[in-house]
Assembly symmetry: C2
Homo-oligomer: 466 residues x 2
């Protein structure tokens, strides 16, 4: 539980500039929340450091007074990790947006944690380079948040998670000490790689203030396909083919007819393929620019009955239209009903059995609930959205989803999957952590947390209970 | 300091099969050492578990009796990380070599820690797949050791370090508890990624018993070039060009004329290029199989004066010959003199200044010492070998190298580099850790070590002092 003692308040006013902190009601609501809407925000104050020194001094002060802090980035999280609901002091990184010049020889750039993901993309694209962490909320999300949540997205199958694209981190510990971890080095085997601890720690071990990002060449020769297939087995059979095909898979996404129906309704679109299918695959392929091998490959898919229908974007605008189908699903589900969202992952080899059991268990226990499946299936990552039945009131549905989540996560556990593939644990998934992590693992996480934050001031109550 | 109490010895004899442990003098020497030769091995016993349960029971017993253990793989380490010099019990993984069937859909394979790196390569190559961790000692090194040292090698520029290619780990903690970390999942954002802690921990936090390895497609269309250039600036200018070229860089290695001279002498070779140069670059490029763009690119390098001479391997045997130049250096240095080895990395942008200062400092303070430079320069990784001058006796040289190491590492530190890019810290580099890691980092490493191994039984005295 956060506290805001009077002597802390006076030290804050005395030691920092007048615009450093705000306690104005609108600001408290705005900066105290993320994209989740389950718990109302209730922080004590919002602070706006401009430098790492500001963060360090602030955290040292909070630690001295036992004041809880919540680091806050672009506030696009989906698990309540940046939610301040208990009188905490929010540390907003929104005034720490510096981006250094791009290091062209080392293919790297150092930025402050508050730099917006898409701004970094633009900054480095000018040099033909890319920071290949890419997802729908990139226009708001910040680098610090990307790293603290080990963000995923649509390019993981090609490039891996955010973890792969961080060379160095500057982190402020609970004591206020500043660590510079790994600098700009690709290789550095000098004991524990502490940088890895902070990536994905959701602000519970330290506050990321700057990062040196690893860059790669901008992708070229991308081709986008949409295929219709008969079932999930066909989605996976096609995936196996694509992995052997004469190109590099850049994205392998899928959605079902139920998702498409709501998308077509919400956006008043025409169906993208002449023949309706139950499952759709969006495949992005990185090619050498020539199309011959690609066309031969597609033809052979038809001939062998691996796809029912398909189309290849002929130019950039068509590619964007196909991508809009996949990326418009989340919005369309919310616009046409009340979805309850989950984000799980499974070993790819377990996907088919898992989905069959999911249908069977939910069909029996939650009849009439529409299940909309989509996601990054090439990574084993399913976004599972169950829609509130029209005849059911919202409160009953939300109450019932808690029971359904236990059923879902028990299935996930039985197939050695993850209850949160990319969204993190935050507050929302904390009660279910045990479905993916053993008691010994959780005990070890808690021990490390206590070692690094003995007073428990850093994002308390997130991920694990203290 | 290890101990071997009588009640521990009797429990070992009572609770395990007769061939589980040996105290025979030859075995103690053989299994108690790695490739370093500085400190003589002196373990108390060597154990040969066959299963994770064996390891778990053994470690629990050691923990109960306060007996120190040293995990041991292929014993090819270059930093003394697997050296048992103080009466420890060695846990050899050499009887844990099981490799499961390859998961073709998930592109993964689970193996025991004692599986030999090259055996894993062969096991998965049968399916057109690769575990792309590749280095000279792969015929002896084991997967557990690769992971515990976060091994590097010749493909890091293309594929990253070992860390990138480990999906799941099974680890035995100091208590004997067994953790299954991350299973076979690509995406799993459920709190701290504990798997990352063990990768590169050199056996100080737990013993890796099994791993699920991530696989990728076998490389195809590889082309190998050798270029001669005038200086290090030209090596880096060529690197910048290669990063923009119409292919993917698969390896970017370099060596100097001093390395080549010793290689040519040792192996009685002809010079690989007509025109001698001071610096040589081995470039491996992953192409789409066609040569036109590649030849145009090479021609333009000549025209623009970026290279002095060069050759492209016309077939596999020639490619192997070019690679043998690079991979034969280490052996040739040892065969033609007494090298003192270091393995440092720098931000690529700092390489030129660093090498100039290295030459100047060593020229002034250690006149007559030949410096042989080679390594994975595309990763910023330099293997720096200084050769004992003929006129100097071995003992004086070795004593003097300790002083020279401080000079070298001070230079590395001043350019924010790493004193151990891939070899790890082990015993040999421990006195120098402070050149690459801040006191706050070392304190945090020690705190984590104490939390996870309170009795300090796991590879004590390695990496950090307890």
């Amino acid at each position: 539980m956060g506290s805001f003692p009077a002597d802390f308040a006076s030290a804050l006013a005395r030691d920092f500039p007048p615009d450093f902190a705000t306690r104005e009601a609108g600001d408290l609501v705005e900066y105290g929340k993320d994209w989740t809407k389950v718990t109302p925000p209730a922080p004590s104050a919002i602070t706006f450091p401009r430098t790492t020194t500001d963060v360090s001094r602030l955290i040292a002060l909070c630690n001295a007074h036992g004041v809880a802090v919540v680091p806050s980035g672009g506030r696009t999280g989906l698990a309540g990790g940046a939610l301040a609901a208990n009188g905490e002091v929010v540390v907003s990184m929104s005034k720490m947006r510096r981006m250094d010049d791009v290091d062209l020889l080392g293919s790297a750039v150092r930025v402050q944690a508050g730099a917006v993901t898409e701004a970094v993309h633009r900054h480095v694209a000018a040099h033909g380079l890319s920071w290949p962490v890419d997802f729908a909320s990139k226009g708001s999300s910040q680098i610090g948040g990307n790293i603290a949540t080990n963000a995923g997205g649509v390019k993981v199958i090609r490039y891996g998670l955010t973890r792969t694209w961080v060379l160095g981190l500057q982190v402020v510990l609970a004591s206020g000490e500043v660590l510079e971890l790994n600098g700009a080095l690709e290789k550095n085997n000098t004991g524990l790689d502490l940088r890895q601890l902070f990536i994905g720690s959701e602000g519970t071990l330290g506050i990321i203030t700057e990062a040196t990002l690893k860059l790669t060449r901008l992708q070229q020769g991308l081709r986008v396909f949409l295929f219709g297939v008969s079932d999930l087995a066909a989605v996976l059979a096609l995936f196996r083919e694509a992995k052997r095909a004469p190109f590099t898979i850049s994205a392998y996404e899928f959605f079902t007819d139920k998702c498409l129906a709501r998308l077509v309704r919400h956006r008043a679109l025409r169906a993208p393929l002449a023949q309706p299918s139950s499952h759709y695959v969006l495949l992005e392929a990185e090619t050498d620019g020539t199309s011959d091998a690609l066309e031969a490959w597609t033809t052979s898919l038809f001939e062998r009955g691996l796809i029912a229908d398909g189309t290849m974007a002929q130019h950039g605008a068509q590619a964007a239209e196909l991508w809009a189908l996949r990326e418009g699903i989340s919005e369309s589900l919310s616009a046409t009903g009340l979805p309850h969202k989950n984000d799980v992952s499974l070993p790819i080899a377990a996907l088919e059995a898992f989905c069959a059991e999911l249908e069977s268990v939910f069909g029996a226990r939650y009849p009439g609930w529409e299940i909309c499946l989509f996601g990054h299936i090439g990574d084993g990552n399913l976004h599972i959205n169950v829609m509130k039945p029209d005849m059911m009131d919202k409160a009953s549905f939300l109450a019932k989803t808690k029971e359904a989540d236990h059923d879902l996560f028990a299935l996930v556990k039985s197939h050695a999957g993850s209850i949160s593939a990319e969204h993190g644990i935050g507050l929302l998934k904390k009660p279910y952590l045990g479905y993916s992590r053993a008691p010994e693992e959780i005990a070890l996480m808690k021990a490390i947390k206590r070692t690094m934050d003995p007073k428990g001031i850093l994002n308390p109550g997130k991920v694990i209970d203290d």
